[in-house]
C-alpha cells in the first residue's frame, strides 16, 4: 500500500508539525489523503523524498 509514502508525512510532522506536513504536500503536490491511496512506486517515493529533502533545506534541519 502507501506505507512508505505516509512515512514521509510522518517524518515531516516530526520536523515541523502540521505546517511542515502541509509544506511537504505543497512541494510534492501530493496530499496526505491522496498518498494513502497511491502505490509505493519508485516514482512516488522519489517525489516525496525530493520534497522532504527540500523541506529539510528550507527548515534548516
Amino acid at each position: 500500500m502507501a506505507e512508505r509514502l505516509l512515512e514521509y508525512f510522518a517524518r515531516a510532522k516530526e520536523l515541523g508539525g502540521i505546517l511542515a506536513v502541509t509544506k511537504l504536500a505543497m512541494i510534492s503536490k501530493i496530499s496526505s489523503p491522496r498518498a494513502k491511496g497511491l502505490p509505493d512506486s519508485p516514482e512516488n517515493v522519489k517525489v516525496l523524498e525530493d520534497a522532504l529533502a527540500q523541506l529539510r533545506r528550507e527548515l534548516g534541519k
Binding site: 510532522k13 502541509t22 504536500a25 505543497m26 501530493i30 496530499s31 496526505s32 489523503p33 491522496r34
Partner: protein, 270 residues
C-alpha cells in the same frame, strides 16, 4: 467580453485593418507605376511613331499616315484607344476614329515643354483615355504632333485585377486568421476554463476535485501545478486538523486554538 471572442475579434480586426491598408497601398503604388509606365514606354512609342511619320507629315500624305496609324492600332487594340496626328496649326491630319472625334480631344493640342512630351488624362462622356503626345520635329521646329490614346479601361483593368487579388488574398488570410484564432482559443481558453472551474470548486470548499492534467508545458500548465500544490496543501491541512480531536475537559476556545481555528469566544460576539 469573454477571452475567446476577444482573441477572435482581435485577430479579425487586425486582418481587416491589414487588408484595408494593403489595398490602399496597392492602389496608390499602382497609380504611380502606371503613370511611370505610360511616361516611359508609351512616350517612347509615340516618339518612334513621330520619327517614322516625319516625312509624310511634312508632305501631308494623309492616306499614308492613316494606313500607318491603323497598322499600329491593329497591333495593340486592347491597349490603344486611338492614334491621332495633328499638323503644326493643330488641325487633324489623320486619326483612327471610326466614330466622330470626341470634343475633349480638341483641347489636347498645345506647346510642349522642356521634357518634350505631354501626358493628359481624358475622361468624358465619349472618351476615357490617357493622351500621350509628342511633337513631330523638323530639326527643332515642330511640324505637327502625334497623339497616342491609351485606353483608360485597360489601365483600370490592370489596377482592378491587382486590387481584387489583394482583396482575395486578404480574404484568404482572414479565413486563415479566423481558424488560427479558433485554434488558439481552444488551446488557451479551454484549459483556463477548466482550471477556473477547479478554482471555483475549491473556493466553494469542495476539495474532492480532479485537475485536468494539462500537458501544454507553458504558463497554463504552471498555473495548474500551482493549483495542484494549493489543493494538496489544503487537503493535507484539513486532514491533519481533522485528526486533531478536542481534548476532554479542555475549554472549547483552547481546543480551537490548538487546531488553529480563528474562533471568537462566546460572549464576545456583539
Amino acid at each position: 467580453m469573454r477571452l475567446g471572442p476577444k482573441i477572435i475579434s482581435s485577430f479579425m480586426g487586425f486582418i481587416v485593418m491589414f487588408g484595408a491598408v494593403s489595398t490602399a497601398a496597392t492602389s496608390i503604388i499602382l497609380d504611380r507605376r502606371m503613370q511611370r509606365e505610360v511616361e516611359t514606354s508609351e512616350v517612347a512609342f509615340a516618339r518612334s511613331l513621330a520619327t517614322r511619320l516625319f516625312k509624310v507629315v511634312k508632305d501631308k500624305e494623309v492616306p499614308t499616315i492613316t494606313d500607318t496609324l491603323l497598322d499600329e492600332l491593329a497591333l495593340r487594340p486592347e491597349k490603344l484607344e486611338y492614334l491621332l496626328v495633328l499638323d503644326a496649326t493643330g488641325h487633324r491630319l489623320a486619326h483612327t476614329f471610326v466614330s466622330p472625334i470626341p470634343e475633349r480631344l480638341s483641347s489636347v493640342n498645345g506647346p510642349f515643354d522642356a521634357v518634350g512630351y505631354r501626358v493628359e488624362r481624358l475622361r468624358g462622356d465619349s472618351i476615357n483615355a490617357v493622351d500621350v503626345s509628342v511633337p513631330v520635329l523638323e530639326g527643332i521646329s515642330p511640324i505637327g504632333s502625334v497623339h497616342v490614346g491609351i485606353r483608360g479601361e485597360y489601365l483600370e483593368a490592370i489596377k482592378h485585377d491587382l486590387v481584387r487579388m489583394t482583396l482575395v488574398a486578404t480574404g484568404a488570410m482572414g479565413i486563415l486568421a479566423f481558424l488560427v484564432a479558433l485554434w488558439l482559443t481552444r488551446r488557451i481558453v479551454l484549459p483556463i476554463r477548466q482550471l477556473t472551474e477547479v478554482a471555483n470548486r475549491l473556493s466553494a470548499g469542495i476539495l474532492d476535485v480532479q485537475l485536468p492534467g494539462l500537458k501544454s508545458k507553458d504558463e497554463i500548465q504552471e498555473l495548474e501545478g500551482s493549483l495542484e500544490s494549493v489543493l494538496a496543501a489544503v487537503s493535507t491541512l484539513m486532514a491533519e486538523l481533522g485528526q486533531q480531536t478536542p481534548i476532554a475537559g479542555v475549554p472549547d476556545v483552547e481546543n480551537a486554538h490548538r487546531l488553529g481555528a480563528d474562533v471568537v469566544p462566546e460572549g464576545r460576539n456583539g
